[in-house]
Structures are given as C-alpha cells and as structure tokens.
C-alpha cells in the first residue's frame, strides 16, 4: 500500500465577519476540526491563505501566532484538553500566566469570574478527576473566556453535556456574541446549531452549504420554558 494523499480540507473559501456566530456542521471526518485548527492559528494549511483582522496568518512568526492565540482567540477542544492534577482555577488561569500584563491578583479574579460564568464557582479547587465530563468541559470553556477573546473557537462544546446545560452554554455564547465576540462552533446537533446566526456544512473537506439563518433561537427564552420537572421516560 502506497501513501494516498488525503485532503482534509479542499478548496474552502469562507469569509467570517466580526460579530458572527457560526455553527459548523458535517459528518464525522468531514474536516471540521482541521478547519477549526487552521482558523484558530494552531495549524497551517499546506497551501492557501488565511487572513485574521486583515493580517495574513501564514506570514506571522510562531511568536506572533502564540500572541494571537493568547490575546484574541479562545479555543475549546473536542476532547477537553485541560491539565490533569491541576485545579479548575489553575487551569482557567493558564492563558493569563502567559500574558505578563495581567497581575496575579487580577488573574485570580478573572479566572474566578470565568468559572462563575459557567456555573462552577463551587468547584474552584477541584481537580479534573473530581469533576464530571460536563464540568470538565465547562472548565475548558471558562479557560477560553478568561482572556476576553475576539473569537471563540468551540469544537463541539456541548458534546458531553445534557440538553439543559447545553442550552445554558448557548445562552452564555449568545451573551458573549451580543458583546461583539465572534463565535465559531462545531456541532452535530441541529438543535444547537439553531442558536447560531449562520451555518456552514462540510462534506469531504468541502463546504457544501453556507447560509444565514432567518431565525435565531433565543436561549434565554428556551431556558425559561424549560420544564423544571422532567418526566422519567421508559
């Protein structure tokens, strides 16, 4: 068997404007994570161009890219990627440790606020192995928020959460989006995609659909109508 060239992404052209909230959908293996890694400045395409804030990211040095990831991008990974044997708050503090303009007092404060915004203020000193999968994902979300990014890249942020918590996260995203933060979010669930402003769909590394939604679901309203007592099914 020889090496077969595989194009994880092929001929993708897309323009994401500031303040957008994009849901990225597509079958497993269609290239969503690869796409996210490139626009999150973690990976570079073999060929092509990518502009972020009018700057060609491919011409930036490693250090400049690190700076960009640190100050302007918040990344939420498909697998949480939080540090083991490290408390929730220390995990959330991590991006700020690499931003020397932030004092240690401010760092603690902001990390705590971020944890609070994902509803984990009572788990500040818990270790990841003392947290549920959903809670770990929320620690990862708090870490992505803590540096007040311009863009949040979220690779299936609700993949491990129950539907109510998922909507809570969507409410958080919508709030952040209203403040002007651009959000790009991968999801498999059409339900969740409905909270976004637009959708793009990948298939075999190509974008097959890119549309603005005519109606954005309001997470806050959904939460209000969410049944407080759930019937046991089965």
């Amino acid at each position: 068997m020889g090496d077969v060239e595989l194009r994880a992404l092929d001929g993708v052209t897309i323009d994401i404007s500031k303040g957008d909230f994009v849901a990225v959908m597509g079958a497993s293996g269609s290239g969503k994570s690869t796409f996210m890694n490139i626009i999150g400045c973690l990976d570079k395409p073999t060929s092509g161009e990518y502009f972020i804030e009018n700057e060609n990211a491919l011409h930036l040095t490693e250090n400049a890219l690190a700076e960009l990831r640190n100050k302007k991008i918040g990344f939420i990974f498909q697998s949480f990627n939080i540090l083991t044997r490290t408390t929730a708050i220390e995990n959330v503090e991590l991006p700020l440790l690499y931003d020397h303009r932030v004092s240690s007092k401010e760092r603690r404060q902001r990390a705590f606020e971020a944890l609070k915004s994902v509803g984990l203020e009572h788990k500040v000193n818990s270790l990841p192995n003392q947290l549920s999968g959903g809670q770990q994902q929320r620690v990862a979300i708090a870490r992505a928020l803590v540096n007040n990014p311009l863009i949040i890249m979220a690779d299936e942020p609700t993949g491990n959460l129950d539907s109510k918590t998922s909507i809570e996260i969507m409410q958080l995203f919508q709030e952040l989006n209203k403040k002007g933060i651009t959000i790009v979010m991968v999801t498999h669930e059409t339900d969740i995609a409905g909270f976004a402003l637009s959708t793009i769909v990948f298939k075999d590394g190509k974008i097959i659909l890119n549309e603005k939604l005519d109606h954005q679901k309001d997470a806050e309203a959904e939460l209000r109508n969410y049944p407080t007592t759930t019937k046991t099914i089965g």
Partner: protein, 407 residues
C-alpha cells in the same frame, strides 16, 4: 520580569505536582554535592592536621638520619648505616653558627614497672636541647641537668600517658622510682599533654632520659638513631641545612663524587612532602565525588527527557493557550535548574552534616572550606543548566497540533 515570575510559578507548580519524582531527581545532585563537600572536608582536614603535627615538631627543626648502606650499588633502607655518632652532634653545636639547639637522639622500646603497674613504651635518650627543639614543656618538676648527663644519672621525665598508666590521675609521680627494663630510674619531671600526631602516634606515650644514661646503660652501641637540631630562625633553615651538610661531609671524609651517607630534612621539607601527598589525596577524593555529581546531572537529564515525553499533551495545551516556544524552553530550564539548585543547597547541608559526623564518630579531622561550598554549589547549578538544556529545547520545539494529538 513579570513573565519570568510567572514561568517560575509554572515550573514550581509542576515540580510540586510530582513531589516524589522531583525529590528522587534531586537525590542524585544531593549525593553528589554532599560527597564533594565531605571529601574535600576530609582531604582538607587531614592536610591541616599533617601540617599541624609537622609544625609541632618545632618550626625550625632539622633532622639528620643515617643514610642507607649501599652494598654493591644496592641501597638498603634509610637509617640502616651506622654513620651518625654523638660527636657529629657535638661538632654541629660547636661549629654551625646558624644552628641554635642540637641533640643526638637514641631510643629503645622498654617495659616499665611501677609497683604493681606495668606498661610498654619507648625511652628516648637526648640532651637538654631536645625539649627546646620539640617544644616540649615540663608542667611538673624539672628537666635533667648537664651534671645528670655527664654522670649518666638514672633520672627521667615521663609523658602524660605513661603517667596515667602507671600512677593514675591522682598520685604524684614526682620522686617515685620506676624500673625501666629492670633498671631503676627516678622521675624528676612530667611533660605537658601533646596528643596524637597525624600518623596516629600518641606523643604522650614516652619517657625521656639523659642521652648518656640510655646509651650506656640500655644500649651497647655508639651509634645514634638521629640528630635533631633547630636553626636560629625559620628564614635561615635552608642555609642551616647546607651548613650542617657541609660539616658532616667533611667529618665523614666524603670525596666530592661520593653521595651523602646521611639524610638531612628540614621541617619545611617534611611539611612539603606531606602537603603534596594530601593534595593528591584531596584531588583524588574530589574527582571521585565529582563523578557522582555528574551522574546526578545525567539523572536530571534523563528524568527531564521522560517528563517532556510524558507531558507532551500538557505542552500542547500550553502552546494552544498562547505559550511561546521560549516560554516552554524557560519552564523546563527553570525546572531542572531549580532541582539542581535545591539539590545543591540540600547537598551542602548533608555534606556538612556528614563531615561533622565523620569528625565526631570517626575521629577524623575535617575542615569544610567556603571554597568547597562555592565550588560544588556552582558546579551543581551548572549541571542543571547543562543537562536541562537539551530536554527543554526538545519540549520547546514541539508543534502544538501534534502535541495535542499525542496520546
């Protein structure tokens, strides 16, 4: 500055998370530094001790011993010939202007009995000058006179060890009669305590008697074991040695092409010889200890390399949230330097502790010098930098996406 502080905090947290492993890594450095300190302390201590005891011979001392007899070109042991006589000592006294004191020395092992007690010791036969040459002080009683010497009087001065063995601590030995090899001697003086010399010899286990008494009554020879002299000052010791050599060669009627049939050594020569020996010893001990420090350094490198592999994902996460490649480099460098630094500090404490223990328990002389502390601490920090660099560089060169995918 702030950035460095943060990196130190990060490094500290990750060492703290793996306390036991960090400690084990440091252990190599601790042992290395501690052994360097202890070895240098022992080396330095014995050097100082040798110097002290050579000096206790008397600082201007010159010693003459009979040379080796050569039989058909084969040299036997030094001191084996019968070349030195009392008359040589008298001639030195009379004719060498740079010599202040001279005494011929004979000695013999002897069984000493006082009442029901007995003891085996060495009896020295010397002239009065000997006390000045050797810096021997009499704390009780008196030394013997020229009259005693001329008359071969059966009087003696005893050392502290002999005194306690024969009379205990409380009984006054002065005026008592002891039998040395069955010959009765009257004790007229007691020497001050001198302690051990660096060869482990008890300098207080002696009896000193007039030269002629020992030579005539206990030995049946006119040869002397050695001649001790002292120069009028330390600066003139080399000249005094030359003066003595010329005189004895002349007295022994040696032709210019003939070798000396005696050996002259100044206290300085002896100090130099032992100084050189203990220097070699110190270097040897220190280099063995340095090897363990080096092994400690390799231990750090090994652990750091394992740790980089093990923490690949962690490094990926750090890069993803905006750590620069040099932040990762510094973090790992700080970790290894911190370990060797702490290991160095702990090693110094352990080394000093071991040195003190060796001194207390083993009775070995030790001397911890500032030099050895600075040296081993500097070396251990350097080891941290040197062996930490490669793993740290490896960590900093990781690609974020690949590091994140690492299982």
């Amino acid at each position: 500055m702030m950035r460095m502080l943060n990196l130190i905090k990060i490094a500290y947290r990750s060492l703290n998370r793996n306390k036991f492993r960090s400690f084990l890594t440091m252990l190599g450095i601790i042992i290395g530094v501690a052994s360097v300190i202890a070895m240098l302390a022992i080396g330095q201590g014995s050097k100082k001790n040798i110097q002290d005891s050579v000096e206790s011979l008397g600082s201007n001392t010159i010693i003459l011993i009979p040379g080796a007899i050569s039989q058909g070109g084969v040299h036997l042991e030094a001191g084996s010939s019968n070349s030195l006589k009392r008359q040589d000592a008298d001639a030195i006294m009379a004719r060498c202007q740079l010599v202040q004191y001279v005494s011929p020395v004979v000695y013999k092992g002897a069984q000493v009995v006082a009442g029901s007690q007995n003891w085996r010791t060495v009896v020295y036969g010397v002239l009065n000058d000997y006390f000045n040459i050797r810096n021997l002080a009499i704390i009780d009683g008196i030394s013997f006179s020229t009259m005693d010497e001329r008359a071969a009087a059966k009087v003696c001065v005893i050392g502290q060890t002999v005194r306690t063995k024969l009379f205990g601590v409380y009984e006054n030995p002065l005026g008592q009669v002891i039998r040395i090899n069955t010959i009765p001697f009257k004790i007229i003086g007691v020497l001050d305590k001198k302690g051990q010399n660096s060869f482990g010899q008890d300098q207080d286990d002696v009896i000193i008697a007039p030269f002629s008494t020992v030579q005539k009554r206990m030995l049946s020879t006119t040869n002397v074991n050695n001649i001790m002299a002292s120069a009028i000052s330390q600066e003139l010791i080399v000249d005094a040695t030359d003066e003595i050599t010329r005189l004895i060669r002349e007295r022994h009627k040696l032709a210019p092409f003939e070798e000396d049939d005696f050996i002259v050594r100044s206290q300085q020569d002896i100090a130099n010889i032992f100084g050189a020996v203990s220097k070699v010893l110190t270097i040897l001990l220190a280099s063995i200890a340095s090897i363990s420090l080096l092994v400690g350094g390799i231990g750090i490198m090994n652990i750091m390399l394992v740790s980089v592999t093990e923490r690949t994902r962690e490094i990926g996460i750090r890069l993803a949230v905006g750590a620069k490649s040099r932040d990762i480099l510094f973090q790992f460098m700080i970790e290894s330097v911190f370990m060797s630094f702490m290991g160095g500090l702990l090693g110094i404490s352990v080394g000093i502790l071991v040195s003190v223990l060796v001194a207390k328990v083993g009775g070995w002389p030790v001397d911890v010098t500032l030099f050895s502390v600075v040296l081993s601490f500097g070396f251990s920090s350097f080891v941290g930098l040197f062996f930490g660099w490669y793993p740290a560089r490896k960590a900093s060169k990781l690609n974020p996406i690949e590091a994140l995918r690492y299982e």
